[in-house]
């Protein structure tokens, strides 16, 4: 089926963004309202597309819209074309829905910033790029959105780039993403070299004729791309620094939507990963490492946003791991992505609300007992908390337990290791999230008397309430009657592959997971009964290392940055002394030996011009002689 409305999903936010930038200060008064209305309109288009899609039969649901021929050289034919199917509609609703809530929140949150209009222009640009990412019908269209969201992320992390550390954080995010983009670029090249096509349909049609090695290479490159965008090991180090951006940005881009694009990429490419068990193994390894890596960092952070960022990294690790488990995992990964979109965005907005009331203080050691003064924030955050740690019947319980279950069911040693990792991750998640709750909302107040924490205005708490409702309800909704898995099946599991060996019954898994959660919670409650205002120095080596993000930056600096700087400096010297030096030497030798020509080398340009004319005449003469 075709539709002529899909383009509005991208065009509306894109042009509104350009409009707000070009209008300049004239639009300061109403720019934020305008941007929010546009975002709401996009959500409206999304909802109407969803309703009409829902009314059609399973194999008739995908719609396409051809826009124009983009690049056409030989057999390399790429059109600007959009595809809205059961998978992309999930993202469209998430992006525009959460996006609109965050627009509303930002009206209040950014009200004191004189560049609020520019902020909203960036937000709308992000919405446009992210929607292009999930609506493009080919890898190259996706790539445009992919780098577009990277640019939006860069601009928003560096929104306050007059502060040098923030500017550096923005640059770091862009560069780490570019490393991933090398993967995406190469994946597209491999796809074209193998199949002569870069559209999803074209590649899908060709995979059966491809060698396993080619599919593994393709999968590995897509994984590299996903690792960059989704802050997965080993490209994870930018996400913590990205918290330099305004908190609504952290909620929308660095929790709910953009950072999950890697999961979209892998699940969208299910036909590639289905064909290579090696590629799938790489995916689960990366996901498994990152889910523990992020969780461990989360236990040691005192900065509330960085703790949440570490948590995001870890939760996306869960999604990536699930998507590496093949047809049984793709839809589960998407389910966790959607529930996470609600509860994590809600918690980030909650963190922003706390910061808003605390003069932008982010150190949880200076919080305490905030629940009493900010009851709505406490309640909504609390619901998100229950969802992420996986307490039934909140959202995370359904989506995360499913991942633990299918991880165990992967079978054999692999199943034990993966299941164990996800279970351990669940315990650590419960620990660090409880720690965060206790340090922020309960216990005794540790802020000084200058701070006057207060509940945030309605424009801020209303979106938090909506997201909290999502944190409560979405898991149940997606899981009842297996609705989400069935909805996605035509795209993600067209051959109806059933789950593997059932190593453990779901009830056993749930019990184990619940036990892990109780352990984590209990440990944190005991350990953080009192919280010193200054971070204690006499801590274990482990805590010290976790505070430093498990030495990820130290590693990158030692292995990449400093050698790179040395290489650059060395090459600059080489260029001057060796290559150009050789040229200068030749010049000097020529000058030195042609002393008899010195008189005509008098530095007068007219003499040189004369010589050139003589040379040209000599040339004609030579040729004339040759022709004789």
């Amino acid at each position: 089926m075709t539709s002529s409305h899909l383009v509005y999903l991208i065009a509306l936010p894109l042009f509104s963004s350009a409009f707000l930038i070009l209008m300049g200060r004239k639009a300061d008064k109403w720019g934020h309202i305008f941007a929010t209305l546009i975002s709401a309109a996009v959500f409206g288009v999304g909802v109407s597309e969803f309703i009409s899609m829902h009314s059609r039969a399973g194999d008739m649901r995908a719609v396409t819209q051809h826009l124009f021929s983009w690049i056409s050289v030989g057999t390399f034919q790429v059109d600007a074309s959009l595809l809205l199917d059961q998978l992309s509609i999930c993202f469209v609703l998430l992006i525009s829905g959460v996006g609109t809530l965050i627009h509303i929140y930002s009206i209040a949150y950014m009200s004191h910033d004189k560049d609020r209009r520019r902020f909203f222009a960036y937000l709308n640009f992000f919405i446009a790029a992210m929607l292009l990412l999930v609506l493009g019908d080919s890898y190259l269209n996706l790539y445009v959105g992919w780098e577009g969201v990277g640019l939006a992320s860069y601009l928003l992390i560096g929104f306050w780039n007059q502060k040098p550390t923030y500017a550096t954080a923005a640059k770091k995010a862009f560069v780490a993403n570019r490393v991933g983009d090398v993967g995406l670029s190469l994946a597209i090249m491999i796809a074209f070299a193998q199949f002569g096509s870069v559209t999803f349909d074209g590649v899908k049609a060709g995979v059966h004729g491809a060698s396993p090695a080619a599919l593994t290479a393709l999968g590995a490159m897509l994984l590299l791309a996903a690792a960059g965008k989704s802050a997965q090991f080993p490209l994870q180090s930018w996400l913590g620094d990205a918290m330099a951006g305004p908190t609504p940005v952290s909620a929308l881009i660095h929790a709910a939507t953009m950072v999950t694009a890697g999961v979209y990429l892998i699940t969208r490419s299910n036909f590639i990963f289905d064909g290579s068990s090696t590629a799938r193994l790489l995916v689960v390894i990366v996901g498994g490492i990152t889910l523990l890596f992020g969780a461990l960092i989360g236990t040691a952070k005192d900065d509330i946003k960085k703790a949440l960022a570490a948590s995001t990294m870890s939760q996306i690790g869960y999604m990536i791991l699930a998507s590496g488990l093949g047809p049984v995992g793709y839809a589960i990964a998407i389910m966790h992505l959607l529930t996470h979109g609600f509860f994590k965005a809600g918690m980030f907005l909650g963190a922003g609300s706390v910061m808003h009331g605390m003069d932008d203080e982010v150190n949880m050691r200076r919080y305490g007992a905030i629940g009493k003064v900010m009851p709505i924030t406490f309640a909504t955050f609390g619901l998100g908390y229950l969802a992420i740690i996986g307490v039934p019947p909140f959202a995370g319980f359904y989506s995360k337990d499913k991942i633990i279950e299918i991880a165990f069911n992967a079978g054999g040693t692999k199943g034990i290791i993966l299941g164990g990792a996800t279970l351990l991750g669940a315990a650590i998640t419960a620990f660090y999230m409880t720690r965060l709750m206790v340090m922020t909302f309960t216990g005794s107040k540790r802020w000084d008397d200058k701070a006057h924490p207060h509940e945030s205005p309605v424009l801020m708490w209303l979106p938090m309430v909506v997201l909290a409702i999502g944190s409560v309800a979405t898991g149940f909704l997606f899981n009842s009657g297996n609705s989400l898995v069935n909805w996605l099946a035509p795209v993600l599991n067209p051959n109806n592959v059933e789950g593997g060996s059932e190593l453990m019954k779901p009830i056993v898994v749930s019990s184990l997971a619940l036990l892990a959660v109780i352990l984590g919670v209990a440990l944190a409650v005991t350990k953080y009964r009192t919280v010193p205002v200054e971070a204690p120095e006499d801590v274990s080596v482990f805590t010290k290392v976790a505070r430093r993000d498990l030495l990820q930056d130290a590693f990158n600096e030692t292995v990449l940055m400093r050698p790179g700087q040395k290489l650059t400096a060395g090459l600059v010297k080489t260029d001057y002394y060796a290559i150009d030096g050789l040229v200068r030497l030749v010049g000097a030798v020529v000058t030195g030996t042609s002393t008899f020509l010195r008189r005509i080398q008098n530095g007068y340009v007219r003499s040189y011009a004369l010589i050139m004319v003589i040379g040209a005449l000599a040339l004609i003469a030579t040729i004339w002689v040759v022709t004789l």
């Binding site: 570019r178 983009d181 090249m189 060709g206």
Partner: protein, 501 residues
Amino acid sequence: MSFLTSLMLIPLLGSLIVAILPKEKTKLIKQAAFATSLLVAAITVGAFVNFDSSNPADQFLQRHSWIPSIGADFSLGVDGIGMALILMAAILVPIVILAGWNESQSGKWGVKTFYILILVLETMMVGVFSAEDVFLFYVLFEAMLIPVYFLIGGYGWGNRAAAAMKFLLYSLFGGLLMLAAIIGLYVISGNQTGHTFDISTLSTLTIDHSTQNFLFLGFFIAFAIKAPLWPFHTWLPDAARAATPGTSILLLGVLDKVGTYGMIRFCITLFPDATKTFTPIIIVLSLISILYGAFLAIGQKEINGLIAFTSISHFGFITLGIFAMTSQGMSGATLYMVNHGFSTAALFMVGGWMISRRGSSKIEDFGGLQRVTPIMAWCFFIAGMSALALPGLSSFVSEFLVLVGTFTRYPVAAIFGTVGIILAALYVLIVVQKSLHGPTTPGNEGMSDLNLREKVAIAPVIALLVVLGFFPKPLLDAINPAATHVMVHSGVTDPAPKAGK
């Protein structure tokens, strides 16, 4: 009168008009030069619209006997490649004149000479991309050095005389080698078809392998210096540091393309066997250029030097695409030449405005400009995004075509080339951070933002960067048949997809 002749004559006539204007009427001189270049641009756009994209043969042909005693003709014609490059050059000249409205005033020889040189140069640019005769090409190739030499040496900054001389000597050296090769070719033609310089006739010659290799090198080294390819590049940063922004744009944006254009037009077309022999080494040199240029760009302390080294990296992509010998590589490389012209123009224009406002080209002297001069900062940022080939901007299309075209034949080379995109992010974002972000560096507080003339000059360039990013079709439609023609002539076809459908 044919279109190409009028394109060559109009700037020449314009330069005569400028020449007879009184030299103290500088404003009138500038207006006359600007009007002339605008007229040329308009005619070229009209011709591009009338260009028959479905026809791979050279068009707008005309031939006049020139030096009959040696068989040299004044013959012109363009295929889609030449047409695209002439279009780019014709659009850039009025922009350059407008952007650097005041840059001739500090020169040694006054305003009048500056515009005469620019217009004469425009005549030669049209000629060099449309010459159907090797001798005519050579004469224009060498003659172009003269206006550029004076433009750098007379109107630049800093050590301009030395930079101009270095540029001249380098180019003359390359030209000498090419001359020898042309004479060789001429002698061979005498034995087979009768003495001629006609390119299409020369491309039918049968030349033995070792002779081909020598002749190929004669042309190639001249073009590799012009392009420039590592290790023949060291004249370029010096020239870019010394030249005015306008001269740099014409030099890097247009004249250097004569090198890469020549590789397609002469090296590959005339010497297909030698091309195969030298392709591996040229691909390696291209990769070195890409990575080396990028590292050097990261290490630069001056804005102009940085732009020059980014260009060396980009020229590496162009030669890589050309010698990959696939339709995507060839068309992508040609499109790259056009896009790089606009992209570099944007960088040099804004860079030049920043430098003239600050009175320094050192990157460390800038800082925090985003909040002092927001429009100028936006323009610089967009130009930077174009340099790192952000998808959605024109340079992405060409860079990706080059890489994908290379990958189908030389996957390892494409992988190395792709790593260049990380380095590109670094060289752009580092200078963006240092100059636009952070607190305002003392001395920049009162800096003025772009004025109306500057906005009018940069707007079409930025519009082209964006429009060609989404709609490169008109250019590709013109380029594709010509690129295919080159491949067919060389007997090369695209590798087929490995996995059957």
